[in-house]
Symmetry: C2
Subunit: 335 residues, 2 copies
């Protein structure tokens, strides 16, 4: 399987490591031989029709900060690579952006028009244009997968779509952003908002643009993806009523604690799509602490089911990409 | 799809109601037209090659306590029904028994030999003979499904088997019996074991043979099923080290509470297969209260993921049977 990889940050590098360490077992167990024929980061790219050497790629990135130095040849731009290289699957891992979703949006649409299957862990394009991207995929008869956009390595989308076959999910709500959960958990231990934010930043939990976490945009993007994929809605970011955690005070948290509750940033799909801080009873399975994510699906006949897991992490997200790739491999093989 | 239904207790009746209420949508959405051609309880049976009337079946059971009165004809025994009726799927819902697994064991093996697909929510046969039942199914080229045996309506088996495609689950542990969890939760609120047991009995949570809950047999049976299905082990009940909750004292629970922990009956698959009371930190996602079930799967690259849901309930378990049936329908249709 020939792959173009857009972005070579933590997730891209974890994926290269995963492919490398599991090469034998992926081939023996699933007939999958992933070859990265092109990869690019913001400074340039590297390509080879027979597949790049994964270890070398990681080493070059580490030494020079860009994969451009992999070869001495003049490197192509990302979009040129997608236009000119022959590949089966595009994997989009560049940073999410909720203004115009670029450069991910152009990567994905260009690849689909070239009849490449697409795996995205970049939430931007999905948040701003889920319905039209899905149409574009169908029109071009390609598969579009994005397991890693919600829950990182925790297969939330797959669970809701496939494990509850024959069941109608009637509503759901969840903690979809680990960073704000970490901050709120620390505040419930007595920290101020400022101190808790600082601590989260020191640990590298906060996005470069802190607004994505604090103002609920990351959670809202995930809610858009869930609403489209699980509930069949056709919605985008402007359809979400979104309030972040900047105005949550220590006294709000103390007040909640008095009734054995905790304040959490909850994304919910009931009558409307809302992201907002909400009091949750401490003994509700949804009430998880630290950087954990949790989501509770309520279905017609199977009751309410909660899934809890780490919502992020390079290797976890890479493992979700591998699952999507195996899924595409199986569909192609007509299994 | 022609079905023989073994047992017509809470689960069987819920299934009849579910089939009846969803007849149109099952046919339109999945091409599934379930016809119960035979059903029997401990007092007798009713059959009709063109399918029994579901509403009437439920009414007759309610009025007479047995489906035998559905028709005036002499009713067949359960095993005779399986031997003589033409059917595609056998659904086994009689009570679990961990001594000889009868009558479920005979129902299942007889049906498989007659090339019927089998869905079982009866744990007995699986607990005592999982490896050989699986071989029998393969030998006779029939499908064998048992989603409802673990987690009731919560699709735990499916999640672990399918949602983590390409991933190796390395260990798991969970609260698999809601009744003991209810008793231990009540004890943590200050009740004695006796009082908590009494309360659970009054609510109808405790098996007629209380040993199945209190001595951990129900949890052990589920552990056998998980170990075989998820981990590929070939084990049966005698392979489980099993300790129940009869010896858990109020002072054990108070001691745990001092370190912000709670005593739970944990079934775990790590180096060995164990069911035993264990202290769990209160903020561990696994530490759920009331009758809830919870299971945490640890995988190689996707971290630890916890699923929480109601572990029992007639309609919930019926919904798991429907999922299995849709699964079989799709496999037959070669989709």
């Amino acid at each position: 399987m020939r792959i173009i990889l857009c972005g070579f940050g933590v997730v891209g590098q974890s994926l290269a490591r995963l492919f490398d360490s599991r090469a034998d077992d992926l081939y023996a167990g699933y007939g999958l031989k992933p070859r990265i024929v092109g990869v690019f980061d913001s400074m340039g790219g590297a390509s080879s029709p027979s597949g790049l050497d994964l270890k070398r790629l990681v080493d070059v990135k580490k030494e020079y900060g860009t994969v451009k130095k992999y070869a001495t040849a003049k490197s192509m731009s990302g979009v040129d690579m997608i236009k000119n290289l022959d590949a089966d699957v595009l994997i989009e891992t560049t940073a999410s952006n909720y203004k115009d979703a670029e450069p991910g949006m152009t990567h994905i649409t260009t690849a689909m028009k070239k009849r490449m299957h697409v795996i995205s862990v970049n939430k931007g394009p999905l948040a701003l244009a889920f319905p039209s991207l899905m149409e574009l995929a169908i029109y071009n008869q390609v598969m579009f997968r994005f397991s890693g956009t919600v829950g990182g390595g925790t297969p939330i989308l797959n669970y809701a779509k496939n494990s509850l076959k024959g069941e109608q999910i009637t509503s759901f709500s969840g903690i979809l952003n680990g960073t704000t959960n970490y901050i709120l958990s620390n505040m419930s231990q007595g920290m101020t908002f400022r101190a808790a934010l600082k601590d989260a930043q020191n640990r590298g939990y906060v996005e470069a643009d802190e607004s994505l976490d604090l103002d609920g945009l990351d959670a809202a993007a995930k809610l858009v993806i869930l609403a489209n994929w699980i509930m069949g809605m056709k919605v985008t970011m402007p359809d979400i009523k979104c309030t972040g955690i900047r105005d949550v005070t220590t006294s709000d948290i103390k007040k909640a604690a008095k009734t054995k509750s905790a304040v959490k940033l909850i994304a919910s799909c009931e009558k409307e799509l809302v992201v907002a801080p909400k009091e949750i009873p401490a003994d509700d399975p949804l009430c998880v602490n630290g950087t954990l994510n949790a989501i509770a699906f309520t279905s017609e006949h199977s009751g309410t089911q909660t899934i809890i897991g780490k919502g992020a992490g390079g290797m976890e997200t890479a493992s979700s990409i591998l699952r999507d790739l195996l899924d595409i491999r199986q569909e192609i093989a007509g299994k």
